[in-house]
């Protein structure tokens, strides 16, 4: 076999990889980013290098893992609803209210950490759950779409927490609108890993595994998925879709509240008004779930990736002078590319007879 032949085959192989429908959206997004940086006079290769280095080396790795905890957590939360066809945009409110409830228990509840921490988590979960059930009941009882009400309730949740922190639970010894500090004993400990990754990482990994098991192996997982794929079919088959809507929202809210609690008693150590909202973590988690088509394994991978993009983006801004917003652009373009089934070469959109197993484009409620 001669050289050019082999080169041809190599080129073909490379093409096969990057034109692969699961890979191409990333190739596309990074190409868009490259073009944008070039056009605005930056050096994209240096920028990408700094982004990568910053995300996986030194304290960057720990920060990436720490950032991945809430992203994966919120993605898992939203996946519970999305795969059942329930469009929950209220993750932020569920997270913020849960976070405050968890913080209050951690601050005011006396007792040993081993008791207070789980209780704080439980308080966060219950609060997030109850809050999430409001739009769920709105949909099942009043026929108000969850998509809209859950979104509007985010703003209400902000105001409620803002009020509570500003008035009854204000720590007036600091210059911020904030609760008191979480006592050392009531904090989620760090693991001796890469210089102190939060123990919550284990928690979300377990949650991911649990989600995988439930989605794949249980009757509930099957029923929720059937409802997400085709509500009429599910109803016809005897699945209580309405009750299920309330159920998956409750789970999504509980997990959201848990993550909110983690963010306060495992990371910030105070509930500062507005801080959780500003982080945009609920939205990042939502995007991760969409990208992963609600599949837990993919959520872990995509969550790590997005966390890395965010942390690496900071490093890129520090060292390459390219705004971290590029990371946000890359995240969004990946989703657009996947949702649009972008691909190279052959026509991707097969007719209804296509049996090929390909990465399915992100669909709310469709796995």
């Amino acid at each position: 076999m001669d050289r050019t032949d082999r080169l041809d085959r190599l080129a073909q192989g490379v093409r096969q990889i990057w034109a692969n429908p699961a890979v191409f959206p990333f190739v596309f997004a990074f190409s868009v980013g490259l073009a944008v940086v070039l056009l605005t006079g930056g050096n994209p290769f240096f920028a990408y290098q700094e982004m990568f280095v910053g995300a996986v080396t030194g304290s960057g790795l720990r920060n990436t893992l720490d950032q991945a905890v809430p992203i994966i957590g919120m993605a898992l939360a939203v996946s519970a609803a999305f795969r059942a066809g329930v469009i929950n945009l209220g993750g932020e409110g569920q997270m913020v209210l849960g976070g405050l409830a968890g913080a209050l228990v951690a601050i005011y509840m006396p007792g040993p950490g081993a008791l207070v921490v789980p209780l704080a988590m439980a308080a966060g979960m219950v609060t997030g759950m109850l809050w999430a059930m409001l739009p769920a009941l709105g949909q099942t009882r009043l026929r108000l779409p969850i998509l809209i009400t859950s979104l509007l309730l985010n703003y209400v949740a902000r105001s409620i927490t803002g009020y509570l922190v500003r008035f009854p639970f204000l720590d007036d010894s600091v210059t911020l609108t904030s609760t008191e500090k979480i006592p050392e004993a009531a904090r989620i400990p760090k693991m001796p890993l890469f210089g102190g990754v939060s123990l919550s990482l284990v928690l979300v990994l377990l949650l991911g595994g649990l989600a995988w098991l439930v989605y794949k192996r249980t009757v509930v997982g099957y029923e929720t998925q059937m409802a997400g794929l085709n509500g009429s079919f599910a109803r016809y088959g005897g699945i209580g879709v309405e009750r299920q809507t309330v159920g998956v929202m409750a789970v999504a809210g509980a997990v959201g509240g848990l993550i909110g609690t983690h963010l306060i008693i495992g990371s910030a150590y105070r509930f500062i008004d507005g801080e959780l909202v500003v982080s945009g973590l609920a939205w990042t988690g939502l995007l991760v779930s969409l990208l992963a088509a609600n599949r837990p394994g993919f959520i872990l991978a995509a969550g790590l990736l997005f966390a890395g993009l965010q942390i690496g983006g900071q490093s890129m801004q520090r060292n390459a002078g390219v705004s971290w917003r590029l990371a946000q652009v890359l995240q969004a373009v990946v989703i657009v590319a996947v949702a649009s089934r972008l691909a190279l070469g052959r026509r991707r959109r097969k007719g209804r007879r296509s049996a090929e197993a390909e990465i399915e484009p992100a669909h709310v409620g469709e796995v």
Partner: protein, 317 residues
Amino acid sequence: ADGEEDEGIDLIYVTPGPIGINPFLALGEVGTERAAERLGGTSKTFESNLDTASQRSNIEAAIDEAPDVIVLTTFTLLEMADEFSKANPDQKFILIDACPDDPAPNLHCGVFREHEGAYLLGIMAGRLSETGQIGSVVALDIPFFKRWWQSFELGAASVNASVENSVVFIGGENAFADPARAKELALSLSAQGPDHIFAVGAGSNGGVFEAAGEADFLAYGVDINECPTAPGRVVDNNLKLVDALVDQLVEKVINGEAGPVESFGLAEGGTGVMALHPDLASSECVIADHPDIIAEVEAAAEGIIDGSIVVPDPLFG
């Protein structure tokens, strides 16, 4: 860098958010750069993006580089400054605008007595207001900003006991950079009577000044001389000479002369108003047309400096 036996000193300035939303943050950068230049070294700026993850990763990246001093700003970074200074005893930190209760020996705080300048602005408003009503448009309802709006009220009351004060908060998604909301609030505030409005909204202030042009009121700015952005509509500003403070404090820290908390007010030249500034004539501030009030303000400033007038700090009693 890397703290080896290099000639000059290295400084890293870490912000809690985008520099553009707050002139205050820009001044911190100027001060850091100036110090580096004066002391023959280099400086870098790590700009965060308002969320804790980016702030944390920037501070850690700064610590990794082990510069001579890391300069942090605003109360937002208070917790992290405390945590990281205790965790890295060999690294020197400066924190501007806030201070933990028991700062580590390697953490040096620089705080301003903003209430002194705000008090002086209050005197101007108390004298100039025709409706006897004044107001403030403040970014957030947090205790820190009481130094501005409460002292503004106090100053006004000192010259006009019957003055009424109202305060509104910008809030919303983006309080420090939402000029549209600030403008609406200012307009609705002015419609209720106040004709002198204190804009304590950093990047949102532009909205208040635009409102001043549309509804007939006069505004007051913060941190820098904001009069030129809206000539004829801004009376004066509560200046915070962050650049000077950072510059001085860096030098003190390098020379080992800095205490745990350095407070800067009128006496130290850390805060002030344009009325008493040498550049008043070219400032485009409305106050320049009122020499009588300037005289009164000057007297009050002297009283504050010599202690005959006490402007209480609304934050700590």
